[in-house]
Symmetry: D2
Subunit: 468 residues, 4 copies
Amino acid sequence: MGRKIKEECGVFGILEQAGTDIAPDIFLGLTALQHRGQEACGIAVSETEGTVGNCSFRKDLGLVSEVFHDPEFLGKLKGNLGIGHVRYSTTGASVAENAQPLVLSYIKGTLGLAHNGNLINTETLKRELVRTGAIFHTTTDSEVIAFHIARERVRTATVEEAVLAAARKLAGAYSLVIMSPRKLIGMRDPWGLRPLCLGKRGPAWILASESCALSAVGAEYVRDIEPGELISISAGGIHSDRSLQISRPAHCIFEYIYFARLDSRIDGISVYDARICAGKALAEAHPVEADMVSGVPESGLTAAMGYAEHSGIPFGYAFYKNSYVGRTFIRPTREARSSGVRMKLGVLDSAVKGKRIVLVDDSIVRGTTMANLIRMLKDAGAKEVHIRISSPPFRHPCYFGTDVPSGEELIANQYSETDLCEKLRQKLDADSLGYLPLSALPEMVKGLPICTGCFDAGYPFPVPESRH
Amino acid sequence: MGRKIKEECGVFGILEQAGTDIAPDIFLGLTALQHRGQEACGIAVSETEGTVGNCSFRKDLGLVSEVFHDPEFLGKLKGNLGIGHVRYSTTGASVAENAQPLVLSYIKGTLGLAHNGNLINTETLKRELVRTGAIFHTTTDSEVIAFHIARERVRTATVEEAVLAAARKLAGAYSLVIMSPRKLIGMRDPWGLRPLCLGKRGPAWILASESCALSAVGAEYVRDIEPGELISISAGGIHSDRSLQISRPAHCIFEYIYFARLDSRIDGISVYDARICAGKALAEAHPVEADMVSGVPESGLTAAMGYAEHSGIPFGYAFYKNSYVGRTFIRPTREARSSGVRMKLGVLDSAVKGKRIVLVDDSIVRGTTMANLIRMLKDAGAKEVHIRISSPPFRHPCYFGTDVPSGEELIANQYSETDLCEKLRQKLDADSLGYLPLSALPEMVKGLPICTGCFDAGYPFPVPESRH
Amino acid sequence: MGRKIKEECGVFGILEQAGTDIAPDIFLGLTALQHRGQEACGIAVSETEGTVGNCSFRKDLGLVSEVFHDPEFLGKLKGNLGIGHVRYSTTGASVAENAQPLVLSYIKGTLGLAHNGNLINTETLKRELVRTGAIFHTTTDSEVIAFHIARERVRTATVEEAVLAAARKLAGAYSLVIMSPRKLIGMRDPWGLRPLCLGKRGPAWILASESCALSAVGAEYVRDIEPGELISISAGGIHSDRSLQISRPAHCIFEYIYFARLDSRIDGISVYDARICAGKALAEAHPVEADMVSGVPESGLTAAMGYAEHSGIPFGYAFYKNSYVGRTFIRPTREARSSGVRMKLGVLDSAVKGKRIVLVDDSIVRGTTMANLIRMLKDAGAKEVHIRISSPPFRHPCYFGTDVPSGEELIANQYSETDLCEKLRQKLDADSLGYLPLSALPEMVKGLPICTGCFDAGYPFPVPESRH
Amino acid sequence: MGRKIKEECGVFGILEQAGTDIAPDIFLGLTALQHRGQEACGIAVSETEGTVGNCSFRKDLGLVSEVFHDPEFLGKLKGNLGIGHVRYSTTGASVAENAQPLVLSYIKGTLGLAHNGNLINTETLKRELVRTGAIFHTTTDSEVIAFHIARERVRTATVEEAVLAAARKLAGAYSLVIMSPRKLIGMRDPWGLRPLCLGKRGPAWILASESCALSAVGAEYVRDIEPGELISISAGGIHSDRSLQISRPAHCIFEYIYFARLDSRIDGISVYDARICAGKALAEAHPVEADMVSGVPESGLTAAMGYAEHSGIPFGYAFYKNSYVGRTFIRPTREARSSGVRMKLGVLDSAVKGKRIVLVDDSIVRGTTMANLIRMLKDAGAKEVHIRISSPPFRHPCYFGTDVPSGEELIANQYSETDLCEKLRQKLDADSLGYLPLSALPEMVKGLPICTGCFDAGYPFPVPESRH
């Protein structure tokens, strides 16, 4: 609803027995990861026996079901080793050229690479290469990573060493899935900012951004790739290198609050549990007398259930969501008599009439949608509307692959910390308003070390003063 | 999920002041009614002043957002009087020729017609016309209705009289929205089988299948058109004719159970309330000791809340629904390692583990999906799974515009009435299974007279022995 | 080039042995007739044994290769009896609804109809039907013809009698190809205004607008359908009815001058021969001293060869035609630095430099293109440019299915008959200009009776004062 | 018709005054060059003032009119400096990734490059780069050229020096159009294998593969870029460097015989004149008594006119070409009753009946089409058919950017040199057959030094034994 924070990417990789085509599995895996990026997607595959390194791929702007709408497209992608990518771009222009996986020829044949995350030293890394005569086809940091891997490969004995050598130069967030002629390699940045997990289905090994993609292909979840770990899978087995591990990782809390799928488990924590927990903490921090707890569909529903459970106030639906008003919904007229949110959500009059309602959502960006929803509830006869947000207010940019809006766009930045709740309450015409306290986050993820940069500028390492 | 019963159509009509283009309103209204038909849609408009009767239209296979994906298409539809239609077809071939509204030239100029419902005497009515040399372009009963109206118009003084004269010949279900050069006419069959309601926005009058479409265009709900009522709207005002009314209507109960939108109100009854009520009655009829009540998203969630409320067992989510697995999702391989339902729904492991679960849905058609869901819950650690269906088992065909599957396809028809629950429970590997009793229906709709033909063959009037 | 006169339609029909699918033949036949209409097309087929009358069809806006771009579309059209149509519409809006063949259900099952030509009494015929309660789905006169056939069929013993009875009411041009459940019927208006011929390939009979479509499907040309003749083809053989024949037909001369394909033979006359003959007559009527005779590609090339042959002046190319500048070529800017004609045609500098050139075309509509071509030739060094038009100037509307522009659009209508050549020569900056004399037409078609209405208002029967 | 030899590319570049958008000019120029490549195309533009180096581009598979079908696409390409490319690929897979222009970021900002021609030392050049850690996104030799330019730019003072330094390493054919932030650069290989010319329109300079593209944008032809010449155009004027010139160029004769447009002038020779000359030489070398000389449309028509002129036998049309049977024509059935050539060409029966015909074409690849045409002529009553080919038989591969089929595919390679004409005549069922003698080529191009490698292996420099 309205303006949401956006994740940038999802990755998937699989190595099956020679002779088994895995493009259909990647299709299923990417469909399960579609929530992580809806702008572009791609699949690249090759054989590990026979015509090794003969990589075929297809990538374009669009959803997975759009780019691969013709079953023939999948049928043409032959091979038992493959990777895939879904992308959402934060950079203005959304061009097909920037779609992934990257498929490159380098000193050892074909290199495929899919990347989730954002670097903060891209310009430095690029300048280093360009000065020796390098050319770049895209504006992605992923190409910079690939180029550094290729450079390192010249002087290293194995592709794994090249990936590690390149990784040592990277500052920022990266979960990589790499396909070299006969190997599938996964690599996660030392802070573990973006997720990556490992699964198994019979003889096949799978790497995916989230565990929900493992279920989608009928695989068992094995474990998460550790922060700073490189994992290399080939016909000969699976090997791990942890030489880049650091003492204190910093996982992204927003994966739990918003990005990841409700049925995923990331770094040992169930996303569902984390949201229920946030709801409970919210009830603890901001109790209120009310008749019903509800959530903004879909983003606020789970935390709302946690709030209901802890407060003892019954959970109920307040809105119906029209699933036909999608991403591409075009408002037919500028002076539209009906706001976009009214098309997307309909109030359940008889459920809300005469009631004091606690309405939970995961975040407030501009506040426009929330103001509309409160208005709709009151028009339908709600006596009171109490807003509860299942995350702290975010006030600082994210440098690591999420699309947190810049300062002015954020309503939270228009008020001082002490004033925020009351001023925002007035502006939205709510009866009360409360954010999740920062102190509640550790419990949500059972003590997992997290990055709280977007809330309190507590980034895990120094960041540039301003992101361009 | 899986095979569902399908509604056939939704209709919308609007008359605004001359000079105001209403195609954007029809677009919004049809988007709100999209759940009633996703196969084809169309919009027809004309001016009531100036170039009267100069009707422009666009209709095609596809969703509203697809057929009108180019904003220019709406911009070309100029006029203050218009009607629209969304369609799902029960007849095998889905051809663009059968899309509505029908736009015809007849003795008085242009006639536009949109129809929701099914006649049972189409063949007789068609034969009557064909014998005098008539030709038909489509295979719809809607064209037969339009032709009879045109025939009657030759000898009647007004278009209203012609519609009523034609309606007297029709047996079956019909909610009609008709556009004659300067009038917007609505007509509902005497049994009130399909819904139709009236709304107002400033000087404009609106007719729509459901009240949710009124909200979508910012209009107030005025009232439902009564069974057997014809309503005629023109610049001169609004007139009603009830000469076709009968003593005992028979509203379709499935509108409340499944078809209509949760936020609609039909014939005075809130769809939300009716489903909550069904859930409560289900809890009353089939209680069980359990730890959580959940519903199959989206169809079973509301009744599940009713069950939870009445039983005191907490409501909770058991599944996550992937909204990117749509209507057109193509399973990439026949021997797909992952079933379609696993792509569409993911289990929330930590929510279901170790729990005794009541799982509610609105109906069971083939049983395949339900068996898969039970399996998924048990794989995730659920201790028990108790299935509750918020409607009675349907065993008889519907002749009035819904797509209830034929005998063999229905799993309920494979068992005797007494055996059904136990046999089905075994087949699905559930721990218990209960259907809503037929006797609970009246309370759901607060005594509104209903058609229960699909459950007990209690049709409101004699029907053909077999539907062709 | 520029604005050309446009033909409205082409028709094709075939009856093969039961068990042979003929949709691919219709596809080939329509592709051969594509020059007769590029706006829309369609194919309808059915079986004459087994599931008789179960007609399947596909029609839409676009070229044959576009509408049937997916080979699967043809594969789905099963049957040994079928008809097809290509359409160009003279009526402003080009809507898919008006595409043909019409496929209708009537008293005897399914009726398919494809029509080339225009009636002049459509309004009268339509009014007659509408007054008895008829409805019309399209704005075509073809639907009016179909309806009258259906009406007549109620009281006649055979479909042939119904077609003849309907035909007796029609005034204007019509070549019809009709498909009744087991028969293929062809009918040509009594004046023979539009062409229709018969072919044979083994056991199959074929009807087509032009003989080139017979060659395209590997059939032999048998003969032309005679003016006023109805031909009926069934498994039982072929029967002819000439009861509507009249003493003096009036064939359309423009088929020879411009519309028909160069390799077709119509009513016994080779189109190629007719154009060569026109060129010779033009040389006889308007001789000039020159170094080269050339034609505007493609329309003027054949007559130019006739001119060259008769005058003894060598024939040569003056222009290259860019075949990639098609129908849908969009000029990139309004203030385009290059005119459209310069994109479409390039001058062959070394062929024209220093030469006196006779440039032949088949007609002049607005004169804009011709003025551009003369300019291009002179810029390239041509010493003189003599324009020769291989038809008389047309000054009157055509009511019979061609798209002769209305009065003001025609440059010939801006001058008196005596002034025309000199004034037009000055305007175009040509060195001389000559039209084919009206008196030369009979020889072109070896005395075949022709309609010369567009040249001298000599229509074969009374026409309305103004075409609507 | 049938299998033809294919050119690989066309290039276009333009520098206008700052403030003038030139994407529409590139669109027109590429449309004029479309015959040089129909697989993919692209346009890249940037500003030379203001936001310098901010390059926008669009490239994809398809014709120019397809890739830029939406006028909005051109409107979004803002800038006064730009280049364009049309491509036909000889490498199996035709993928969008290989479309040009290449748009790269390198040490000095953005580098755009469009390339026509083929290198023979690509592998060596690529290996050299890959060994230092380079990555490649495409399989084109054009990317290899661009990478070498970027490498050289690190140590050269100007982009021109970098291009020249890179060019010194290249062996093979290349006409390059390059766009560096403020300059438009053209470069032609020292042999002048592929064409490139210079034009002027007011303040704008234009580079194009053929002069026809200059006319298309309203520019004057200035001169051809010389073999080995680099030309650099900027706001400061135009500069030339001839340091790579060699004593003996080797222009591609096939540009005159087949590839180039009839209205182009290449290296001072009119393509039209060259083909007329070839026809005359053919008549001189292989005279025959006949009644008509004709050509296979369009490829053989001009040489046929030369033959006619020299022999005194009248020129005439033998075939009509259906322009709707395009590139994408799908034969509807495998066992098609009508061959593809019959769909594309129709015989002009009355023109050929009873005549002895000389039929001219520019080449014979497999012979299938020619055999069909001879059969069609004889079926239509031609008494004799004498085949004349306006080029020598080609027997050797081309390494320089044309798609001459490999050995077995070429019918000429199935016979010895002495036997060829007689054996081929028999196979095609012709009455006589003659090729243009190799000795006639110099006169065609007025003594211009040419490459005759494909005829006699007389390549201008050593070539690899076998092209991969």
